[in-house]
């Protein structure tokens, strides 16, 4: 108990990022709508949301590339522009281009030179996996190579916060795994990492915390497991010796069902209270074989949460 207070007190004082009722509109479109959130140093946070959810706008506001219409954005207790000028933030944006007609090494040298706590150029090249292509002209790179150069630019020095927008787009599976291994190292050194992604398995595997954004608002905020729980349903599947019409009808009346699918002798259902549903199943006097109870994947949870919100907003 005492430990809790001593460890949590300083983190409250030094939020890596804090948004307070931040709003940003483009014409009639409200891209960010009263967003309040708080990221702590050392956290790895995934930002999820369907297209147009306001992810890019949120990152732009966080990096001071745009100003909020109302509300405040603070990065390490100061304005985003100031935090960037101090070299505390490294960022890799999809919209971030590269300087042409120079070599990869020259560009990385520039990024290192601009950083007050710069790493060695050879280290930055090695970590991004671009040592072999360091002599190549930037204009002659593949999409995945460009992405790794962007990553090198974002990690040219010791940042306290790394912001990544769809960082693994264009990378193959091996490159993607190597990328996240590197990112893990960064997080282990106490850096906050915030990434937007549409690969939900990445968010599931990497992030300590997942933020679900929808129509510019924060729909869910928690660990991947909590997000899945919030979606409510769990999957239950089992086989029965035989299923006749009468049994099928009784299965349909099980409590807490949200869906039921009978294919041959296999039953797949989703339930908001799997324990109660399975208990009632035994109550029917049948014996289920190969019984499996599993949580929804993050992807299904994500779809469920945003669909529920979509339905609610249409009422």
């Amino acid at each position: 108990m005492v430990d809790m207070t001593t460890t949590s007190a300083p983190t409250v004082a030094t939020s890596a990022v804090s948004f307070e009722r931040v709003t940003k509109s483009y014409g009639d479109v409200r891209a960010v709508d009263g967003l309040t959130l708080d990221l702590r140093p050392g956290e790895t946070v995934a930002l999820l949301g369907p297209n147009g959810a306001g992810k890019s706008s949120t990152l732009d506001l966080l990096l001071g590339l745009r100003r909020p219409d109302s509300g405040t954005v603070r990065v390490f207790g100061t304005s985003p522009r100031e935090a960037i000028a101090e070299g505390r933030v490294g960022a890799m944006l999809q919209s971030g281009g590269l300087m042409g007609e120079v070599t990869v090494r020259e560009l990385v040298e520039l990024a290192c030179a601009l950083h007050p706590r710069r790493h060695r150029v050879s280290d930055v090249l090695a970590r991004a996996g671009i040592t072999e292509i360091a002599g190549r002209k930037v204009d002659k790179l593949s999409g995945g190579q460009e992405q790794r150069v962007r990553f090198a630019l974002a990690t040219a020095g010791a940042n306290d916060l790394i912001v990544l927008d769809e960082p693994t787009t264009g990378m193959d599976v091996t490159a993607r795994q190597a990328f996240w291994a590197t990112m893990r190292e960064q997080a282990d050194q106490g850096r906050a990492v915030l990434f937007a992604t549409h690969y939900l398995e990445e968010a599931d595997a990497i992030a300590d915390r997942v933020l679900v954004l929808h129509r510019g608002r924060l729909l869910a905020d928690g660990t991947a497991a909590e997000i899945k729980a919030k979606a409510g349903a769990r999957k239950v599947s089992f086989d029965l010796a035989e299923i006749d019409a009468d049994l099928a009808a009784r299965l349909r009346e099980l409590p807490f069902l949200t869906s039921l699918d009978v294919a041959g002798r296999t039953v797949r259902l989703q339930s908001t209270d799997a324990d109660a549903t399975v208990h009632a199943l035994y109550g029917l006097g049948v014996y289920p074989y190969n019984l499996e109870v599993a949580g929804l994947g993050l992807e299904q949870a994500f779809v469920a949460i945003t669909a529920a919100e979509e339905a609610a907003s249409q009422c």
Partner: protein, 249 residues
């Protein structure tokens, strides 16, 4: 001071890149000198009939040196800035510790590094092949005035780069470049123009620009009106750029 030091890395890289671009170097450094030889070649003895008493080669030397400097500072930057804004490189730079004006500073510096040789090469060619002679102080003053005056057009190049989109930037730059060169009298003396065109020309920055050098050639200091006009244009162009950086990022 600290800001300037931070910008230095980008300044150096921009200069390296400019010096690597052969086509750009040819058009900024070699082409004005060649044009000078072609135009001055046929008419070495004649005087310009603007009452200055300057020989045509001396007059053309300043025009072509000014033209070369104009090419160096205007042509490369406007297009590159528009393209780099579109590609997101300008945005990427905003995520570094580079101060806001560092990018424009680097572009201007790299242009100035190319414009200096473009001025000097025209002078050397004029002295060697067309026997143009001046006092030592005049050569130095000419170089300094034309080099400094080119800053006005560097600011114009930057402004076009920020105002134009990637598709439109080349034609816009070309129109401005040829329009200013021709009407400002960089290719032929404005004395050959009809009066109404001369009236327009007298207010163009290129006319004032060439007049800086011509004043020095006749043994005097640049006229206050020309200097004022160039400074006013510089402020206008720099202001135009600043006015639109807000919406472009």
């Amino acid at each position: 001071m600290l800001n300037t030091l931070t910008s230095w890395a980008l300044v150096r890289l921009e200069i390296t890149r400019a010096l690597r671009n052969r086509k750009f170097l040819f058009f900024s450094v070699i082409y004005p000198a060649l044009l000078f030889l072609i135009i001055a070649g046929s008419q070495s003895g004649s005087e310009v009939d603007d009452g200055s008493g300057l020989s045509l080669p001396a007059y053309l030397m300043v025009s072509m040196a000014s033209f070369g400097a104009l090419t160096a500072v205007l042509m490369g930057n406007s297009e590159r800035i528009a393209k780099e804004r579109e590609s997101g490189w300008v945005r990427q730079l905003r995520l570094t510790t580079l101060p806001g004006r560092g990018y424009v500073l680097a572009k201007t510096a790299s242009a100035a590094v190319v414009s200096l040789p473009s001025i000097v090469v025209v002078f050397v060619v004029a002295a060697l092949f067309k026997d143009v002679r001046f006092e030592a102080w005049q050569w130095l003053a000419l170089t300094a005035a034309i080099w400094a005056g080119s800053l006005c057009f560097a600011a114009l190049g930057v402004a076009i780069g920020y105002l134009a989109t990637g598709d439109a930037v080349r034609p816009i730059t070309m129109i401005v470049y040829f329009g200013l060169s021709l009407l400002g009298g960089l290719w032929m003396p404005t004395t050959t123009f009809p009066q109404w065109l001369r009236d327009i020309a007298s207010w163009l920055p290129t006319r004032a620009y060439a007049a800086l050098g011509q004043a020095i050639e006749t043994g005097g200091a640049p006229h206050a009106k020309d200097v004022t006009l160039l400074v006013a244009y510089f402020l206008l162009f720099a202001g135009a750029r600043r006015g639109c950086t807000g919406r472009t990022h």
